[in-house]
Amino acid sequence: MGIRFILMVNKQGQTRLAQYYEWLTLEERRALEGEIVRKCLARNDQQCSFVEHRNYKIVYRRYASLFFMVGVDDDENELAILEFIHLLVETMDKHFGNVCELDIMFHLEKAHFMLEEMVMNGCIVETSKANILSSIQLMDKAH
């Protein structure tokens, strides 16, 4: 399966974006997010960017006030996921220009659209920034 979910959570533990690639109920999501955020926020910068949680491995990376957390299967390449997060951030940066938490909040759907291009069925399917952004740019132009 690869990627199980992608979360963006700020320093206060507030969810800014959540995308799950397997179905969890609202309660399950809530519980999972709470546990993961507590675990990750408690860690310092020197420690690994990986945390085991239940049967997931969480790979996370912090950008200013925002944490990007990706839940993956056990046999996923953690370093690659770490770089995938960075690719996502670079892509958003390319689109928004100096991306920040509020860009994502105000353009939640766009952030989701980018993810839709990059990840399908829990697999990384597109890593070319130009390809990821082209459909969004076309849509923007149309309006």
Binding site: L17, C48, S49, N77, C123, E126, T127, S135
Partner: protein, 936 residues
């Protein structure tokens, strides 16, 4: 501060008329962003829910406004509140003609609904329409939705269109179509089994994005069935080569690394294909070597690829050079200051150690550092490594460390894992039984509720069986040390139930065996346990049975039994227990106390938990009695098949019916009204169960209970089986057998079932041995090479752990592939020239290659593989089925034989059932009712 600035920026943007950003929406986002606590956030969201509920009901909401509402709904759900009241509006929005609105609608629907939601049916139609759209972005949006919303039942509704789209001119559409097919394959492999070839075709797509995406479904397919894709080895290698030679568009580069995510996916696939395949491994070795040389280990992404190479090498059959390169990369990781790289290094070490066991030694210090690191993640990874490199020489250190760590954490998920690993290692490598018991005590004490019940049974068996060599002295020392440690632990508050069961059992069996502790001391302790854990019926049951054993040993050795007042009150309490199991045990204990030494010794022999209990199926001990009865005019027994009606033969062999319910389906019952009706046939159609059994069987059942006590698993299994066999209320105790007779006394036929009571339990142990031991040995041999021989020796000599086979090492050891490997396809040879023609699009080239090969021999090969494979598997399966059939028929005939051969006793059987016979022949005065019914 920074936030405020950006808010300003956004507000400016909003006022500029950014699409769909009303003041209301901006305010909402702002207030959510500024919420300082979860409670505040909840308040905002709850009021937002109220607002939206109202607004969505307003007539003629402008579309743009509606899009905003939908996104606000997404916010509500994202922040953990239910927005189901608005789902239908998201569904409606997918119908919109405007692309952005449509896509937003689809996005919201995929976030809100799971594939089985009722509303999905309203979307399928829209999806079908959108798949036909001229605007490829609309098609893409629909394909995105398909990947999230289509379930097994709705696949056929969109499948033909998706297949058509695989050849769409736009690469984005092809890519999403292949992923939709991937999703169908996951949801229902059979729905797309005829379309698998499309995945191969798309691998040769001239767009690298489509090719890269196709690797995902191919990875799944290959992990399900490696052999069918061996022909692609050289294609994957050639693609990887081209990627590393930077033949892909620059836009795929990431930090100067050409398409790293595609490289990693390819390496994962190669690991699957090269596993245990020398040929494939050789084809790969070149490109792997290149990767090691080229990879930039100063960047994260470079290290990610290096790590994937290590993984790949640990799966395939690598040459020594590659191994060396992998070891070098690992030591670089371990020497790094970055915790992330150390983590990867430890993981890599754990993988490589299977191939070259001595690689860990040079990194000892780094490993110890990681183990002592305060970072939990690193620590756990290191424990995983230690677990993989445990041998009998280091088991004590490692397991002690693991237990210390286990005690220190409170994450139950991981605690369970590490506890089971401790148990596994201890069972496998224990240097001494003493140490084993101490270790198990610690595990039970701190994680007793988390470990598997089998572990407890294994421990009990170890204590009972001892070394397995004829070293009685050592055995009794072992038992004494166990008893001593348990007496120390028993007063600790809040011990886990499973541990208490073990303690009770051991104290019952061996508490007084050594003479060191008096019966009243031990029984007092057992009563304390029963009192302290009065809500735990299983523990109480164990405690009562242990008490029974203690008293039995006392009676048997001729000492006078003083039942402590607290024991007396415990027994009395249990006599009135609501649990039939506890009640039965209490009654049995009471009955036992009234028996004389000889009877007691027969019922509960000293230290007999390991003795096999022979059950005389023939009930030959009754022969004398039968003879007598027949002489005095009773009807002789007619076996059930000879009987066609029902008549009252109950008084003959109540024992016969013992285990009959454990038969699965009793077809025999339907054969009763046969034409050959003997004159005596009674008109009764339904057997009338007579309450003949009564307490007379009490002693027998007691003995059975002791049997049960001695090897818990045995009769539990019986209980389970009975549960399926017959919907009666039996508890799992042997007591059930007596009640069973009452319930269906007469109808049962002869002895098959009774036999199973003795044979079944043993067979429940035995299959483990042949199943796991050889595998373990093989694993050990391949895992640790030379040093393993000593260990296997140890294990075989340490016969005390014959069934410690619960070990499940991940069997990722490279195995020799028995199937003949296909000769490398021509693709590689053809592939080389294309690589040299740099001016041309490599993927187009590759596509051409693949096409031609599939026209020529490639597709034939594939088909050949299928056609070859299919008949073989079918024939073998038929064979096995047939053999099974014949087996079962053999089994049937055997049971018939045993039925027909039932009759006069053999001498052997006579000896076997001494135990039961003694009770039957020598009824004690306290049991005047024994066999009263039989005697009339």
């Amino acid at each position: 501060m920074e936030q405020l600035k950006t808010i300003g920026r956004e507000l400016a943007m909003g006022s500029q008329g950014g699409f769909g950003q009303s003041k209301e929406f901006l305010d909402l986002v702002k207030s959510i962003g500024e919420a300082r606590s979860k409670a505040e956030e909840d308040r905002i969201v709850l009021s937002e829910i109220d607002i939206l509920k109202r607004k969505l009901l307003e007539p003629d909401v402008p579309k743009r406004k509606m899009k905003e509402y939908i996104i606000r709904l997404v916010y509500i759900e994202m922040l953990g509140h239910d927005a189901s009241f608005g789902y239908i509006h998201a569904v409606k929005m997918t119908h919109d003609d405007n692309l952005l609105l449509k896509r937003t609608g689809y996005l919201a629907v995929t976030l809100f609904l799971n594939e089985d939601h009722d509303l999905i049916i309203l979307i399928v139609n829209t999806i079908q329409k959108d798949l036909r759209s001229d605007n490829y972005l609309v098609v893409c949006a629909a394909l995105n939705a398909i990947c999230r919303l289509i379930n097994e039942e709705t696949i056929p509704a969109v499948l033909p269109q998706v297949v058509e789209l695989l050849n769409h001119q736009k690469e984005a559409v092809r890519k999403k179509a292949i992923m939709a097919l991937h999703r169908f394959h996951r949801k229902s492999p059979s729905s797309v089994s005829h379309l698998i070839s499309n995945f191969r075709k798309r691998l040769c797509d001239n767009d690298p994005g489509v090719m890269g995406a196709t690797l995902c479904p191919l990875f799944d397919l290959i992990s399900e069935d490696v052999t069918s894709y061996k022909d692609l080895v050289s294609s994957f290698v050639s693609i990887l080569k081209q990627v590393t030679e930077r033949r892909l568009p620059k836009s795929y580069d990431y930090h100067q690394m050409p398409a790293p995510f595609i490289q990693i996916k390819l390496l994962k696939i190669m690991a699957l294909l090269g596993s245990g395949d020398k040929n494939a491994s050789e084809i790969m070795s070149m490109v792997l070597g290149d990767l090691f040389r080229k990879c930039d280990s100063s960047t994260n992404i470079g290290n990610a690829i290096l790590y994937e190479c290590i993984r790949c090498i640990s799966c395939i059959l690598p040459n020594p050079k590659l191994l060396e390169a992998a070891a070098d990369a690992i030591s670089k990781f371990l020497k790094s200051d970055s915790h992330n790289l150390k983590y990867m290094g430890i993981d890599g070490l754990g993988r490589l150690i299977k191939i070259s066991p001595d690689i860990a030694e040079q990194h000892q210090l780094a490993v110890i550092d990681c183990l002592e690191d305060p970072d939990d993640t690193l620590k756990r990874k290191t424990f995983e490594l230690l677990y993989k490199m445990t041998k009998s020489s280091n088991v004590e250190v490692i397991v002690d460390r693991m237990i210390d760590y286990m005690i220190s954490i409170n994450d139950n998920h991981y605690k369970t894992e590490i506890a089971s690993r401790c148990v596994e290692l201890a069972e496998q490598f224990a240097p001494s039984n003493q140490w084993f018991i101490q270790t198990m005590n610690k595990v039970f004490e701190h994680a007793g509720d988390l470990v598997n019940i089998k572990v407890a049974h294994n421990l009990m068996r170890l204590i009972a069986e001892g070394f397995g060599e004829d070293d009685d002295d050592a055995d009794s020392k072992l038992r004494l040390s166990a008893v001593e440690s348990y007496l120390q632990l028993i007063s600790e508050p809040k011990l886990p139930s499973l541990f208490l069961q073990v303690i009770s059992w051991v104290l019952g069996e061996y508490g007084t065996a050594d003479g060191k502790y008096s019966a009243s001391y031990i029984s007092g302790k057992l009563c304390d346990v029963a009192d302290a854990y009065s809500s735990d019926e299983t523990v109480k049951g164990y405690a009562v049975s242990a008490l029974m054993k203690i008293y039995a040993f006392e009676i048997a050795s001729g000492r006078k039994v003083d039942v402590l007042p607290e024991c007396q009150s415990l027994i009395e309490e249990l006599l009135a227990s609501h649990s039939t199991d506890l009640q039965q045990r209490a009654y049995e204990l009471q009955a036992l106390l009234a028996l004389d030494a000889r009877a007691v010794e027969t019922i509960i022999p000293l230290d007999a938990s390991c003795e096999d209990i022979e059950v005389d199926k023939e009930l030959s001990f009754l022969n004398g009695y039968i003879q007598q009865a027949i002489e005095s005019g009773a009807q002789p027994y007619i076996s059930e098949r000879e009987r066609s009606g029902m008549f009252e033969t109950t008084d003959y062999h109540p024992q016969d019916h013992h285990e009959v319910p454990s038969h699965t389906l009793r077809f025999e019952a339907y054969e009763l009204p046969k034409p050959s009706v003997p004159p005596q046939a009674s008109t009764e159609l339904v057997p009338v169960p007579e309450p003949y059994y009564s307490e007379s069987h009490q002693p027998i059942s007691t003995s059975l209970v002791s049997e049960r006590e001695s090897s818990e698993i045995k009769l539990r299994l019986d209980g389970v089986k009975q549960k399926w066999g017959r919907p009666s209320y039996q508890p799992t105790t042997a007591a059930s057998s007596t009640t069973q007779q009452a319930a269906n006394g007469i109808t049962s036929h002869s002895d098959g079932g009774v036999g199973s009571s003795s044979s079944k339990p043993r067979s429940s142990y035995e299959p483990k041995k042949p199943e796991i031991d050889p595998e373990k040995q093989r694993l050990a041999a391949s895992l640790f090479g030379g040093s393993s021989s000593s260990r296997t020796d140890k294990k075989s000599s340490g016969g005390h752990k014959p069934t410690k086979g619960t070990v499940n090492k991940p069997a990722t050891v490279p195995k020799e592939n028995p199937t003949p490997v296909q000769p490398p396809p021509d693709l590689l040879d053809l592939g080389e020239p294309t690589a040299t023609i740099s001016a041309m699009d490599p993927f187009k080239e590759l596509e051409g290659l693949m096409d031609s090969s599939s026209q020529d021999g490639g597709s034939n090969d594939v088909m050949g593989l299928y056609s070859d494979a299919a008949p073989v598997t079918t024939t073998t399966s038929v064979d096995s089925l047939l053999s099974e059939l014949s087996d079962s028929s053999k089994g049937n005939s055997r049971t018939y034989q045993s039925q027909t051969s039932k009759g006069p006793n053999t001498k052997e059987a006579l000896e076997k059932d001494a135990l039961v016979r003694q009770m039957g022949v020598n009824p004690t005065s306290q049991n005047p009712t024994l066999f009263k019914d039989l005697l009339g």
